[in-house]
């Protein structure tokens, strides 16, 4: 098989490529669903349709999508600037630690102080975790991919160390922290549902990021730096500074995601505060084509599948990991199909 470059890409191939990618992903994931003993058609209905079929489950989707909105946008900003931040996982965790630290040590603050403080501590936590790789990249030329990756397991160990040690729950003795002060609880965004203000904050961040990235000079400079750093330097754009700032903002947003999860959902720090939200953020950002609108849409899709995965696991006994398999496969399939559009497939070179 040989791929030959197409001179012109017909317009209709865009949606077609995505449709084919979804079909491939569904077909491949049908196999493990079958192996788990469930009917794939029934399962996919529950993955993709049931979560959106009632208001109450739509609220669950919004709740599940919230951390992905934060990490997806965080990764998208960094990737756009050409800074490969694969450490959103660690930054998310340290953000959660930051919010918990004030939440359990200053529990009696009123909400007006506690809410901004908790979110700010989340941002600071994420920022601290992104500053070392960003500094090493800027001043030592050390590849950020490696350093951001290596700090992820360290952040997880930090959470485990705190929960096994100083922050072990004093009442239950379990390995999760005490409950944070109630002043830190993010209020419900939609009264009577679990959807909290973390969702609102994420959407505000996404709107602001979208405007900055597409409509301002800074946004265009970031895009330029990401596309070709050498050319950007030549055009008078300070790539190093831009990437440094993008890295820190990215870390701060991921950290706020961790804070939002502590203050809006768990109300304490737990081992499972992140279920791969940082890594999934890479999938969200990539599928979104690094655009803000895309992040919102893809986080919504993966949130839907996440809710569906819980449902399928309870009703049809298919392990929840199928949701993660689906999203990773979807990313690879979409990228492949979108790329394949540029080529014609030739089975044998004719003479």
């Amino acid at each position: 098989m040989r791929l030959v470059v197409r001179e012109e890409i017909p317009k209709w191939t865009g949606p077609a490529a995505i449709a084919v990618a979804v079909a491939i992903t569904v077909a491949i994931t049908a196999v493990p669903i079958r192996i788990a003993g469930a009917n794939p058609v029934a399962a996919f209905e529950r993955y993709l349709i049931t979560p959106l079929s009632s208001m109450s489950s739509i609220y669950e989707v919004m709740l599940t999508a919230t951390p992905l909105l934060f990490t997806g946008m965080a990764v998208a900003i960094a990737f756009r600037a050409g800074y490969w931040n694969i450490g959103a996982e660690g930054q998310f965790l340290v953000g959660a630690i930051g919010a918990t630290a004030v939440g359990i040590n200053l529990p009696n603050l009123p909400a007006a102080v506690a809410l901004p403080l908790g979110m700010a501590m989340g941002a600071v936590g994420g920022l601290i975790w992104s500053v070392v790789p960003a500094w090493l990249k800027r001043h030592g030329g050390i590849d950020e991919v490696v350093t951001t990756l290596l700090l992820n397991p360290v952040a997880l160990l930090l959470v485990q160390g705190l929960l096994n040690g100083p922050w072990r729950n004093p009442e239950t003795g379990f390995t999760d922290s005490a409950r944070i002060g109630t002043g830190y609880d993010l209020p419900a965004l939609i009264p009577g549902t679990r959807v909290h203000w973390g969702f609102g904050i994420a959407i505000i961040i996404i709107i602001i990021s979208g405007i900055v990235l597409t409509r301002t000079a800074t946004g265009m400079r970031i895009k330029a730096a990401g596309q070709s750093p050498h050319t950007a330097e030549f055009s008078g754009i300070k790539v190093g500074v831009l990437q440094w700032r993008a890295a820190l903002i990215s870390g701060a947003i991921a950290g706020m995601g961790g804070a939002s999860q502590v203050m809006g959902v768990q109300h304490q720090l737990t081992f499972g505060i992140s279920t791969n939200y940082g890594y999934t953020g890479v999938i969200v950002a990539t599928l979104a084509g690094l655009s803000a609108v895309g992040v919102a849409l893809v986080a919504g899709l993966l949130g839907t599948i996440g809710v569906g995965a819980q449902n399928v696991s309870l009703v049809l006994q298919v392990p929840t990991q199928l949701g993660a398999m689906f999203s990773a496969l979807l990313m690879l399939a979409v990228l492949s199909m979108v790329t394949l559009r540029r080529f014609k497939v030739r089975w044998r070179a004719e003479r």
Partner: protein, 520 residues
């Protein structure tokens, strides 16, 4: 056509299409033992494609390649080598981090053990046969361009090649290196090898070849013994005009004729006394302990085009970078008019009146970004309204420049989809719309077709006529002598001399470019 019996290499009915573009259209070509065949053609005439097909790098849509009358199936360069075809490509294909011997062995190695002593011996043997000597254990990255080419030739001959293809081998060489190359070619010819020599320089073709073929728009338009040709007839065939009309109007050939455009001696005198717009004083650049530039002194006056000749790799690119603001200065001073820009960043330099047109066109544009965004990326601050980018103003700006510089593109087209000539026009527009006081133009016409080359030359002359200064860095001596008022020569990071264009003969420049003589 003669029969394939006595021919070493025979290409028959070669056709290759890239979409609508026909790169090679039914081409037939033969090379006999002991014969040097030159292939002439403009850029884009299909020479390189034909050579790549012959060497198995590109597959033809139609046609056959024969060696000694036997048809060979060219799936990869290995097949070509096995059949006795060797090639020296235009851009060298050497691994810079490997030694000379390792590079030479590369195409022959299997998967198992390589015996360094045995390899060394075989390499030295071939070197003796060709009469070229290089240290086998030297890392290729440390060799000069001329030496690298010799490695390429030895590499080709390492596999008992019977036909050697040289794809524009002289483009990057000094006159002295060219002489040495020709000596090698003659030696190979006397050894009964067939040589296919691709070029677009008539003088060289006349000197070295037995037979000439001319390619135009992918078709072979001439195939004659060298004695039956004249420079005029070949040039006409290359350009696709009949010899009678070449003198009419602003033809490409006239554009590179120095006498047609040079200023009079008095005019040049006048320029010398005009104010200096770009002053480079004792400029040095050091990187990793190596002095890339050593005490450079140059002055460009208003209305003047100062040429800078030199073989690539002698500090030109560092000079462009240090002037552009992407490489820091180690010592010395750079000023535009009276503003010291030595430590200024890129934006400050642009504001001071510096315009830049660099050699690496694709490297100074954003391929995936639109034409309109590429045009404003250096002055985004001018297109802001209430903190946001003013999209309408950007579009208007783009439309104006597209018209003014005759760019064949829409504002929303991605720059990566444009032709080389149109990219150069985008860059010209970006540099010139600010009316720079000084324009640095490095290899501004390399790889461009004749029409765009003429256009770029015209723009440079216009700038100078309007009182700007132009620093023209080029390897093309004809171009320098056609455009420049004075020509400085750079060699190993220093300026070895500066001549009035009237005194700058090709021979003299050639000697200076190789550090042969220090003219005052």
């Amino acid at each position: 056509m003669t029969s394939g019996d006595r021919s070493l290499l025979a290409l028959e009915n070669i056709t290759k299409r890239y979409g609508d573009l026909v790169a090679n259209d039914d081409v037939n070509l033969e090379v006999a033992p002991g014969e040097v065949v030159s292939m002439l053609g403009e850029n884009g005439a299909g020479k390189s494609t034909l050579m790549k097909i012959t060497y198995g790098l590109v597959r033809a849509d139609k046609g056959t390649v024969r060696v000694n009358g036997e048809e060979i199936d060219l799936k990869s360069p290995r097949d070509a080598m096995a059949a006795g075809i060797g090639m020296v490509t235009q851009e060298f294909s050497l691994v810079e981090t490997m030694t000379v011997a390792e590079n030479i062995a590369l195409s022959g190695v299997g998967l198992g053990r390589v015996d360094p002593a045995d390899l060394r011996e075989r390499v030295l043997e071939v070197m003796d046969r060709v009469g070229v000597h290089l240290p086998p254990d030297q890392i290729v990255g440390a060799l000069s361009i001329g030496e690298r080419q010799r490695v390429e030739i030895i590499k080709a001959l390492f596999h008992d090649c019977k036909v050697l293809i040289l794809d524009e081998p002289t483009a990057v060489l000094t006159p002295q290196d060219i002489e040495a190359l020709f000596k090698t070619i003659r030696r190979l010819r006397d050894d009964n090898l067939g040589v296919l020599f691709v070029s677009h320089k008539l003088r060289e073709v006349a000197e070295i070849s037995n037979r000439v073929v001319v390619l135009r728009h992918g078709r072979m338009v001439a195939n004659k013994p060298i004695e039956e040709t004249t420079a005029q007839s070949l040039a006409a065939l290359m350009m696709g005009v009949t010899p009678d009309t070449t003198t009419a109007g602003d033809t490409p050939l006239a554009a590179v004729d120095p006498r047609a455009v040079s200023k009079t001696a008095e005019a040049r005198q006048e320029v010398q006394t005009a104010k200096s717009l770009l002053t480079i004083k004792d400029l040095s650049v050091e990187k990793g302990g190596i002095k890339a530039l050593d005490s450079i002194n140059l002055t460009v006056h208003a209305g003047q085009i100062l040429g800078l000749a030199g073989i690539s790799g002698n500090g030109q690119s560092q000079l462009v970078d240090v002037l552009s603001g992407t490489l820091p200065t180690s010592a010395g001073q750079i000023s535009v008019e009276n503003v010291d820009i030595t430590d200024s960043n890129v934006t400050e330099r642009l504001r001071a009146g510096l315009g830049r047109l660099t050699e690496d066109r694709r490297g100074t544009t954003f391929a995936k970004m639109s034409v309109e965004h590429n045009l404003v990326v250096e002055d985004l601050h001018k297109f802001r309204r209430t903190g946001m980018l003013d999209r309408k103003a950007i579009r208007r700006h783009a439309n104006e420049l597209i018209e003014k510089f005759a760019i064949k593109a829409k504002p929303s087209d991605a720059v990566g989809s444009l032709s080389g000539g149109n990219i150069q026009k985008v860059l010209l527009a970006r540099a010139l719309h600010r009316d720079p006081k000084v324009l640095i133009a490095a290899q501004p016409t390399r790889g461009l077709d004749i029409g765009t080359t003429g256009y770029v030359h015209e723009q440079l002359r216009d700038r100078a006529a309007q009182g700007a200064g132009v620093l023209l860095i080029s390897e093309d001596l004809d171009e320098l002598r056609a455009l420049a008022d004075r020509i400085a020569v750079i060699f190993r990071g220093t300026i070895v001399g500066e001549l009035d264009v009237a005194d700058a003969t090709a021979e003299r420049l050639g000697i200076m470019m190789t550090g042969g003589e220090e003219a005052a």
